[in-house]
């Protein structure tokens, strides 16, 4: 009953979304305000409708309605209620409904705003959002229906939405249960964060399309969506970081990022989104790069859909799985159609998108921003091609190949180094004009201190040249950025007669985006410390230990004390937990408990490491294997991951930075962060 109801509501919301598209286009072309208003209301109506459909699904999930195929696949009786709710996005059909729900929420939020002088954008924004919604709801209603039930037809169990002739409903005793990897708290919030990021990027895209269609190609659309793109970026970044932390905590291979196609699928829109974030500033300040910003926002939208396609269509496991699933080709068609239509619009409006001003030097800030864009695009090209090549290879040669971390690391490392260098230079450059001399004068102190730090590290810490180059760049960016804070605050302190700290806080408050950006740069450098640490200095050892035996790694000694294995029938899990004593240079530090959880319902293992984390390094122990009959010996893999904690500290600061930059101001129009000609950039030229 509830299943039919939920399906019916999903179908109605699909129809309403279709109506919104038609009404918006018709209303805009016939200049009928009432039709446009009707389309807007249609858009608004989809949100409560999808909420009811989703509510029905959650009801089915929570109440063990295993006759519903989706409920059977992702839940089981032993799962706690909150996990049954989050199982909503734990499977294909549910996650598509989740996507639609978020999109309806965001589109509604955006259509509620006061439109005043931007009213001509309205129908087209509604149109773009609704078209996307129609696509996703169409998937839900026609292909990946989460309300499909099992029926007993002539003794066979078959999934159907509606009762086939002479069939009776079939209810399995218990469900399959959610993949144990997805039961981790990190995994409970990681997918919604990514989806939030994905979906919020639809809004800037919708405005960009509205600007192209109406011909209002000034930077109004960018100003309207600036905050949206920041929040979208926040969610996407946060989603990526959470995914990394989750991998580190439960995947049990000692790392946080494996260059897996699924990870890259989420990383690609982040790359274009980050490039967009930088290049819109050039358009706002200098009225340039209008074509490029359009292309970036279109690419981001396309990559968002493409990313969903990669993770949802099964194309990654094999080209043939893709061809067999109905939704793969549909996704492909949708991405291609929207991409072609958007690019055609850009070409149509090409003459109107010409820049208003010119640059005076190759070292001006806008030139450096463009270089930044080039580097981000380069990483994108490498990622895209790395993900696509195995498919291309399978398609043309039949040979399956792996494109693993070594490929990506080698190809992207120099580019990331280049981005770091830019992070050190660009904040010191001036809009419009800079010379090597002005930049050099602004930079030399920071560069010198960074060099000094590098020399000290060379003597005391490492002789690895890759690490030294990395540390030099990190130090350079940190000092340059700190100097920027210092210089700005000092200048304000002098001119306004404030004390240093109030000058600093006012300065930052008046230039949220700029100083938020700097905080993000600093956080990126902290993350880079962690990444360098684990990439360059990670060490590992593995060994089978009898009770009382020890294993040595770096300064640590790990002694195997005991192992216990027990069933928790309430949770449906068997726990096997080892206890190890950890010593550092002979001093007892405490015990660690790596364990393996075996889930009866899904018959899957989950490896939970025992981890001891300090600012210097992580001691990360995995229980690889044990001898169940004797419980005498067990095999452990031990990693020492130097500096990796800075990755997580950096991530937290990163969040602070974005929230600081995106926090609503009282009067947004006033708070456009101003171009910054810094003192030292100006001093030399004045003196020349």
């Amino acid at each position: 009953m509830i299943a039919e109801f939920g399906y019916g509501i999903a179908l109605v919301s699909f129809l309403v979304a279709v109506y919104s598209v038609v009404a918006a286009v018709y209303g805009a072309t016939k200049k009928s305000a009432s039709l446009v208003e009707s389309s807007r209301r249609g858009m608004l109506l989809t949100f409560p409708l999808i909420t009811i459909a989703a509510g029905s699904l959650i009801y089915l999930l929570v109440n063990n309605h295993f006759e519903v195929a989706f409920v059977y696949e992702v839940t089981s009786r032993s799962m706690p209620t909150y996990l049954k709710v989050t199982a909503w996005w734990g499977g294909q059909a549910g996650s598509l409904l989740f996507w639609s729900w978020l999109l309806a929420a965001f589109a509604s939020a955006v259509t509620i705003r006061k439109w005043d002088r931007d009213i001509e954008f309205l129908p087209w924004v509604v149109m773009v959002c609704s078209v996307t919604l129609v696509f996703f709801l169409g998937m839900v209603v026609f292909y990946e229906n989460p309300f499909t039930r099992y029926w007993l037809v002539n003794g066979n169990v078959e999934p159907h939405m509606f009762q086939p002739a002479l069939a009776t409903i079939f209810t399995p005793q218990d469900g399959n249960g959610l993949n144990p990897l997805l039961r981790h708290p990190g995994m409970v919030i990681h997918p919604p964060m990514l989806y939030l990021g994905f979906v919020s990027y639809v809004i800037p895209y919708a405005f960009a399309m509205a600007a192209l269609i109406t011909g209002r190609t000034d930077d109004r659309w960018i100003r309207l969506t600036r905050r949206w793109s920041l929040w979208a970026w926040l969610f996407l970044s946060f989603g990526l970081v959470l995914g990394g932390r989750w991998a580190y905590d439960v995947l049990g291979w000692g790392g946080y990022w494996g260059w897996d196609p699924v990870e890259i699928a989420a990383f690609m829109p982040w790359l274009t989104g980050t490039a967009f974030l930088h290049s819109v500033m050039i358009q706002e300040k200098r009225g340039m790069l209008k074509h490029w910003n359009m292309i970036l926002v279109i690419l981001t939208y396309a990559l968002v859909i493409f990313g969903t396609f990669l993770t949802r269509s099964g194309v990654l496991s094999s080209v043939h799985a893709f061809a067999n699933s109905p939704i793969g080709p549909l996704f492909m068609a949708f991405v291609s159609a929207t991409l072609i239509a958007s690019i055609a619009l850009v070409i149509y409006r090409w003459p109107q998108l010409r820049g208003e001003t010119e640059m005076k030097s190759m070292l001006s800030r806008e030139a450096l921003f463009l270089l930044n864009n080039l580097l981000f695009m380069s990483v994108l090209v490498i990622c895209f091609w790395g993900v696509m090549f195995p498919l291309v290879s399978e398609l043309f040669t039949g040979q399956k190949v792996t494109v693993g971390p070594p490929f990506y690391e080698r190809a992207t490392a120099p580019i990331f180094a280049g981005l770091m260098f830019l992070m050190g230079v660009a904040p010191l450059s001036a809009w419009g004009h800079s010379t090597v001399k002005t930049l050099g004068r602004a930079m030399w102190k920071s560069a010198l201190i960074a060099l000094l730090v590098t020399v000290i590290l060379f003597i005391t810490y490492t002789k690895n040249y890759i690490a030294l180059i990395g540390f030099f760049l990190i130090a350079l960016v940190l000092f340059v950025t700190a100097q920027e804070f210092w210089r700005g605050a000092r200048a304000r302190q002098r001119s306004q007669n404030e004390n240093f700290f109030s000058a600093l806080s006012r300065l930052m408050g008046r230039n949220r985006r700029r100083y938020g950006g700097y905080i993000i740069h600093i956080s990126m450098m902290l993350m880079a410390i962690g990444i360098l640490g684990i990439e360059v200095f990670q060490s590992a050892t593995q060994g089978a230990l009898a009770q009382g035996e020890e294993l040595n790694i770096a300064e640590y000694t790990v002694k195997y004390r005991e192992l216990a294995s027990w069933d928790d029938t309430g949770k449906g899990v068997n726990f096997t937990r080892a206890t190890l004593d950890v010593y550092e240079n002979g001093i007892y530090l405490g015990e660690l408990n790596p364990r393996i959880d075996y889930y009866f319902d899904s018959q899957q293992n989950m490896t939970i490491p025992g981890n001891r984390s300090t600012f210097r390094d992580d001691l990360y122990i995995i229980l690889v294997d044990w001898q169940p009959t004797t419980a005498m010996g067990a095999t452990f893999k031990i990693f020492v991951n130097p500096l990796v904690n800075w990755l997580w500290i950096g991530s937290l600061l990163f969040l602070v930075g974005i929230i600081f930059a995106a926090w609503p101001d009282r009067d947004p129009a006033e708070e456009i962060s101003r171009r910054g000609i810094t003192q030292s950039a100006t001093q030399p030229s004045a003196a020349d």
């Binding site: 010119e358 005076k360 290879s393």
Partner: protein, 163 residues
């Protein structure tokens, strides 16, 4: 002649005996040695998982196989080749250059990036070449800056003079 044959057989037997003893004395390769080889191989069944960290039973067996091959004195390259022969190129971390087709993964990204760089450089050149009497943008450069002070004004003056 007969004596020679006896001696020969004796020496051979002795040789076999000693090499056998020597092999038995050799310890089995350690987990770390196995993992070192396994790290560069990818699990043929699970995607994108290096063999040294793959938790499946199949991979456990493959690691034991590597241990056996190391004990037989096979080199890392030989072991890799064995796995490639068994399961195809997908066990390697990156597509090997033995197939011409695989060249395109290494060629296409640099080409695209190069093309991007050329486009960027040309547009920069176009933008920085002053068009005659094109409106100077120094006006909006002097727009209010939070740090605006005398230095900025002087900088603007200098910038104009330099042109």
């Amino acid at each position: 002649m007969k004596k020679f044959l006896y001696t020969f057989t004796f020496i051979i037997l002795l040789g076999i005996l000693f090499t056998g003893a020597a092999l038995a004395q050799d310890k089995l390769p350690t987990d770390d040695e196995v993992n070192k080889v396994a790290h560069d191989l990818y699990c043929p069944v699970c995607q994108n998982t290096p063999l040294d960290v793959c938790p499946t039973d199949a991979c456990k067996d493959w690691r034991e196989q590597i241990r056996g091959m190391l004990a037989e004195g096979k080199t890392e390259a030989q072991i890799q080749q064995y796995f490639v022969d068994q399961f195809g190129d997908r066990v390697l971390a990156a597509p090997p250059l033995s197939t011409k087709f695989n060249l395109i993964i290494y060629i296409i990204p640099p080409l695209i990036i190069l093309a991007g760089a050329i486009i960027l450089f040309r547009s920069l050149k176009e933008w920085t070449t002053p068009k005659a009497a094109a409106a100077s943008s120094s006006e909006d450069e002097t727009e209010a800056s939070p740090l605006k002070d005398d230095y900025v004004a002087r900088f603007e003056e200098e910038a104009k003079k330099q042109k």
